[in-house]
Amino acid sequence: MKLLTHNFLSSRFLKNVTTGYPLKLTIEEKNVVEAEIDVNFLKNVMVKIDYAVLYEAAKSVGEDENLPSPNAIVDIDSLNEQQLKQLHRVLVCLDVVIGSLECPETGRIFPIRDGIPNLLVNEDEVS
């Protein structure tokens, strides 16, 4: 699972959960896949991303170096090459292989195995 996906995941589908965001990410094993940088995509996706959440997630993997500070409003055009590269690396290249996601409100844990988060729930757990 990429941090990009983590940034969009929410546990709102659970019963009695109002926002369910952000899911608490614990990483046991990660993998980096090299990929070509696509500034267009970054531009497109940065509009939707919750940057503070991304920054926190990256920090927990120790990849926050070179990332612009979460307090500043992130504008793609103002970033230097190194920052862009790191942003790309964190969003697209980095893959969580083993770990878990935790719902911030109920504490329900969703395991991540083989890079696939398991978000299966029982019928009585959903609203």
Partner: protein, 421 residues
């Protein structure tokens, strides 16, 4: 046509065997890719923009490959873990990866291929431990997946022979098992020197089997099959039942496609499941996570009118606009139903394909030409005209059978004489 959704829940139906069948069947792959192409076309994404798409019920990632090929990034959601493992490239093997004989193989396919060869080797040497040999190999390979890739690299598919082993994939364990189950004359099936010896003993053509000496071998042979280790960075997968809602934030995606998946939601597989409720939950959460002005395209095979009505009404209730686009509505085989859902504002539905020419480009066979109509003739037998050559010959045959004397058969039988004569 049988419907797999009648047999049980998708996570049980698409187990390892079924997933591997699905992903390696070239016909399925072709049709699914075509439908995914069409769905993407119906999605009408703005050009020159890399979209962030959702693939609902992505399965083994056939439709996702199409999205990737169009340069978009996608997230796949599916309820079957074996299917997702296929999609993520876990235990997917390629034969001749960038060459003309490109083939994608699952672990099961590879085992089957190697298994059948083992079968032959054993048979050639005249022993009877065939089944044991297969089972041994399966177990042995499962224990150590890395040795499988070594094994495949050293296995020459065209000549059905192991060509090189370096390093030998822990043969000791395999030998032990073998000694337990068979007589001492049983050949070592694991690709070690014994295989080579046995083959020579059995007068199989002189081999170029060389151990631990890669340089003397043609490298193309060795590298025909590569385990996929460079993962595709354009996708991400989530294990999730569509019927329990989408786990995404509001306004996440630029579009969503779904190929032959939504009909699964119309069936209850447990007593606590209510298809209507699950569809409602699904569409509602999907509507929320789609960006404004985006589309979701579902290809599905409606079982009957009620089913498509149910799906449509639930989608409309969730706030979507849109409707069905039926391609080739007059053809039994090529007919494809797409549900095109749009967020934000009433827009015109895209046009369905009906053109005959377009039809020719698609890979499916039109059934009409093969149909045989029978009119008015009993049993389909053609009546023979009295006095014709066929009639004379049939009569002669009948008479011969009855033991009567008949004239000789000749090429002149039944011919008209010329008027001059």
């Amino acid at each position: 046509m049988s419907r797999p959704e009648h047999t049980g829940p998708p996570e049980l139906f698409y187990d390892e065997t079924e997933s591997s069948k699905y992903a390696s069947n070239s016909h399925i792959v072709k049709i699914q890719s075509e439908m995914a192409e069409r769905a993407l076309e119906l999605l009408a994404l703005p050009e020159d923009k890399v979209g962030y798409l959702l693939d609902l019920g992505c399965g083994s990632g056939i439709s996702g490959d199409v999205i990737s090929a169009h340069g978009h990034i996608w997230v796949g959601v599916d309820v079957s873990l074996p299917m997702l493992k296929f999609a993520i490239g876990d235990s997917v093997f390629y034969r001749d990866r960038d060459g003309p004989n490109h083939e994608k193989w699952s672990e099961a396919t590879v085992l089957k291929k190697i298994g059948s060869v083992l079968f032959e080797i054993v048979r050639e040497s005249g022993t009877k431990v065939v089944a044991h040999a297969n089972q041994m190999k399966l177990r042995y390979v499962r224990e150590d997946i890395d040795s499988l890739s070594v094994l495949i690299e050293s296995f020459d598919m065209d000549r059905n022979r192991f060509v090189n082993v370096s390093p030998p994939p822990s043969p000791i364990r395999a030998h032990d098992e073998f000694d337990n189950i068979s007589s001492p004359t049983v050949p070592r099936i694991v690709p070690t020197k014994e295989v080579e010896n046995d083959q020579k003993k059995n007068d199989i053509e002189p081999t170029d089997v060389v151990e631990n000496d890669k340089d003397s071998l043609p490298t193309e042979d060795l590298r025909q099959i590569n385990r996929q280790d460079d993962e595709d960075p354009t996708k991400d997968l989530v294990l999730r039942d569509l019927g329990s809602g989408m786990p995404f934030r509001a306004g996440t995606f630029d579009g969503a496609i779904s190929i032959s998946a939504i009909q699964w939601l119309c069936h209850a597989n447990a007593s606590d499941q209510n298809p209507r409720k699950r569809l409602h939950r699904f569409f509602q959460s999907l509507y929320a996570c789609m960006g404004r002005g985006t589309r979701a395209v579902f290809q599905f095979y409606p079982e009957n009118e009620q089913q498509s009505d149910l799906i449509m009404s639930q989608a409309m209730r969730a706030g979507f606009n849109g409707g069905l686009v039926v391609d080739f509505p007059n053809s039994t085989k090529a007919k494809k139903v797409y549900l095109v859902l749009m967020t934000g504002g009433v827009q015109q539905l895209p046009k369905a394909l009906t053109d005959e020419q377009e039809m020719g480009q698609r890979s499916q066979v039109e059934n009409t030409a093969r149909r045989v109509f029978q009119t008015g003739k009993k049993g389909g037998k053609e009546r023979i005209v009295k006095g014709s050559k066929a009639w004379i010959e049939a009569k002669r045959e009948r008479a011969t059978k009855q033991g009567r004397e008949v004239g000789n058969a000749s090429k002149f039988s039944g011919r008209k004489r010329k008027a001059k004569w």
